[in-house]
Amino acid sequence: MAESYIGAPIRRREDVRFITGAGTYVDDIKLPHMVHAAILRSPHAHARILNIDTKRAEALPGVVSVFTLKDIGELDATVPIRMYKIPGLDKYLQPSLARDVVRYVGEPVAVAVAESRYLAEDALDAIDVDYEVLQEVMDVREALEDKVLVHEDNGTNLAGVHHVNIGDADKAFEEADYTRREEFRVHRFTGNPMETRGILAHFDRGKGELRVYGATKLPHLNRQTIAAFLQLPEHKCHFEENDVGGGFGIRGELYPEDFLIPFATVRLGVPVKWIEDRREHLLAANHSRQVTCELEIAARKDGTLLAVRAQIFGDMGAYVRTHGGLVPCSTAALLTGPYRIPNYEARIHCIMTNKTGMGTLRAPGRVESCFYRERMLDMMARDLDLDPVELRRKNLVKPEEIPYEIGFTRPSKHPTILDSGDYPSALRQALERFDYDEMLGRQGLREDGRYHGVGLSYFVKNTGGLEPYEGARMVVGEGGGVTVFLSIAQLGQGHETAMAQICADALGVPMDAISVFHGNTDLSPFGWGTFASRGTVMAGNAVHITALQLKDKILAAAARHLDADAASLSLEDGNIVQPGTEAPALPLGELVAHMRESIIPEQGVPELEATAYYNSDNITHTYGVHLAQVAVDPETGMLEVLKYLVVEDVGRMVNPLMVHGQTVGAAVQGIGGVVLEELVYGEGGQLLTTTFLDYLLPTSTDVPPIDDLVLEEAPSPYNPLGVKGAGEGGIVGTAGALGNAVSNALGIEVKDLPLSPDRIRAWLRARNDGSSTPPL
């Protein structure tokens, strides 16, 4: 049977429970004797805690317990750095509850547990905390002056520095015909999954076992960390993910609450639930994106790129969390993009401020660097009087140069290698599909009174990753049904469908015979997580190789049963067949029925199950183009995105329905982030955007229909399926394309975000004051 499931737009099997209201998200689970926690958070950006008095709160009816740092005692835990451990960052870790000093508005200070969430929140009002308010520092430039220290004992706000040095950038700059230096800024925003964070933890004192519901993204890593914090054996901690209302980088990381709620259940012996509200989410869950870059470019007169130098400043907030220096370092990792730039130097600074800690948001650092680079290329094209498309085409890495090693752009022992692709082909197809030349002709002031502009960005995005593995276990059972147990979690993507497709093809059974289970640490002892578009690359290949191993076992068992040569057998559509013979097909279910008594034969090795892990030392890279057409109203500064195209080569699509869904959804998320969303801090370090009335997410009337073209011209040579991850390509190029489109529309040079009406108006005023004619 030819492969038939991979590549087919199969409807998701997950959907039925979601559309009927039968999904089970963490807040949908109730356990007997369950109590509810609420977290008291700092109202100050920077203050010393002088005293905490919980007596009034503890006396309230329905209050079970109120605890503070001193109750946690020696178990006190800090949020660990798991990635991008730049030296020095480990002096800026976050304790589970503030230790003497609070460093951002929203920092956990105490926990109240009561019979209902209402009563627990009442109790927070009755906890008396005396603070001595300290001066805050909110801007990275100011923070670098070290006049106000976020962590006084450390003596500096510069928590860590990483240096990337490829070729000889200084020499290239000396010899270049053309150089330009600009400073670019990306603002602070965050992922905002529709389901806020939530944890339900139950410590069974009789069994000495901890069960945690609501673990997402990284259940195994979080189990390892929490078990160590609580001094429990890891195998007695069970982390279950349940259904998850979106991830986008933020949800499922380890936060103080991930320790506090399990701690509470161990202390109290009854199940404890905590469901974050949206205000808390905006205050306390990871922020992202806020990276500033001083970027320099060097080129020949003809546009040949010679070198890039960058000073990158990441606003880490008040504590370095699980991702370490990932966001600013990832900004450097792919700053050179799909272009041949032999000399590259970057210095990455991780800087502490009195804001919520920084973590990842879909394509962290890559959205930022694509914006910087693609804006700079448009500026350079204008300076050198070159066509911006031709400038890019000239410098794109050519198909024959791939695999193309950029060099060591990350704090990692692996160099960054662009693994496969035909970059000029994707550009050509994008321009054709967008009708680029026609759209260019519509630029400028139009009859609708608005300025129209077109913008382009080209991106590469690493997917999959170097984290060592994902696993799958597969068991054939009654009726020939195949059960697949995954180590990886799902945040809403559709693993239950996609992994069944992959399994069905590799094994040779109908997809309906396959059940997929995931997101529970009991299913698999080891696993990593769902991030960096690695689900299909890592878990998909784990399923593929496990299914091939299982197929060999099935055929060996069938060969014995049929007294045939295993090599003469094949498994097709759930039947064992002997091609080229008249032998009748043996349904897999019949083989199982025959074997029921001897599925585990004398040598004790189960014959009808297999477990395998997929490891990877290489990163796959998707690539593609974003094209945007915008209109800007000069009176109001309102930006409307009229037309938007994403072209991405993902190597190979497992399920086109889901790949398109990822691409379109990511593009809208990206447009929202670039145009609408911003975490705004005001006086005294107060976060002003703590509701969805203030923090604007894109709605159906804010975005145009997104066109997408998904290519499969360059399967990755690095994995058996040839797949690359499809979760982030739709977002990576949004800031670059929109920044260029607005610049082209208004004849200005956009250097910072968001593209909000007030800022656009300010840029227009500056343009009109500064010169009578726009610089275009």
Partner: protein
């Protein structure tokens, strides 16, 4: 300090009489007292629309209402949308068009769309876009949701656009 009140209402065709805290929201009542957990809470301040239910024929945000305000009301939640095992045309179309990913906002969209199609049985895309503009989805980019509602409309409403 708590005050309770007797509440009578009908949800998905079933009559209930319950003693409730007067300060309890309708959303919490549906989820915690009736175990109808298909109604989700995304913001708890009336912006995201995930908690949308139909009260006396009108789409409302159950996080902005107190349960006691539903005294005597007839409510429909996502759990009441299908007819037994037979999916409502909107539900079927949402699956067909891949109009959901994580599924968290989906019940709110389904209830908003269900009420909308009763008002406007044969809407064009712009009208659909407008109708769902009070519901937030972070996964899909809205496009497949609009397509799904358009696809379901003839089956739900029955009449063609004039």
């Amino acid at each position: 300090m708590s005050t309770k009140s007797i509440l009578n209402l009908t949800v998905n065709g079933k009559a209930y009489e319950k003693l409730v805290e007067v300060r309890m929201t309708l959303a919490d009542f549906l989820r915690n007292e009736l175990d109808l957990t298909g109604t989700h809470l995304g913001c708890e301040h009336g912006v995201c629309g995930a908690c949308t239910v139909i009260m006396n024929g009108e789409a409302v945000r159950s996080c902005l209402l107190l349960a006691v305000q539903a005294e005597g009301a007839t409510l429909e939640t996502v759990e009441g949308l299908a007819d037994g095992d037979q999916l409502h045309p909107l539900q079927a179309a949402f699956q067909d068009r891949h109009a959901l990913q994580c599924g968290f906002c989906t019940p709110g969209f389904l209830m908003t769309a269900s009420a909308f199609l009763k008002e406007n049985p044969s809407p064009n895309d712009a009208e659909i876009r407008e109708a769902i503009s009070g519901n937030i989805c972070r996964c899909t980019g809205y496009q497949p949701i609009i397509e799904a509602i358009a696809q379901a409309a003839p089956e739900v409403g029955g009449t063609d656009k004039d």
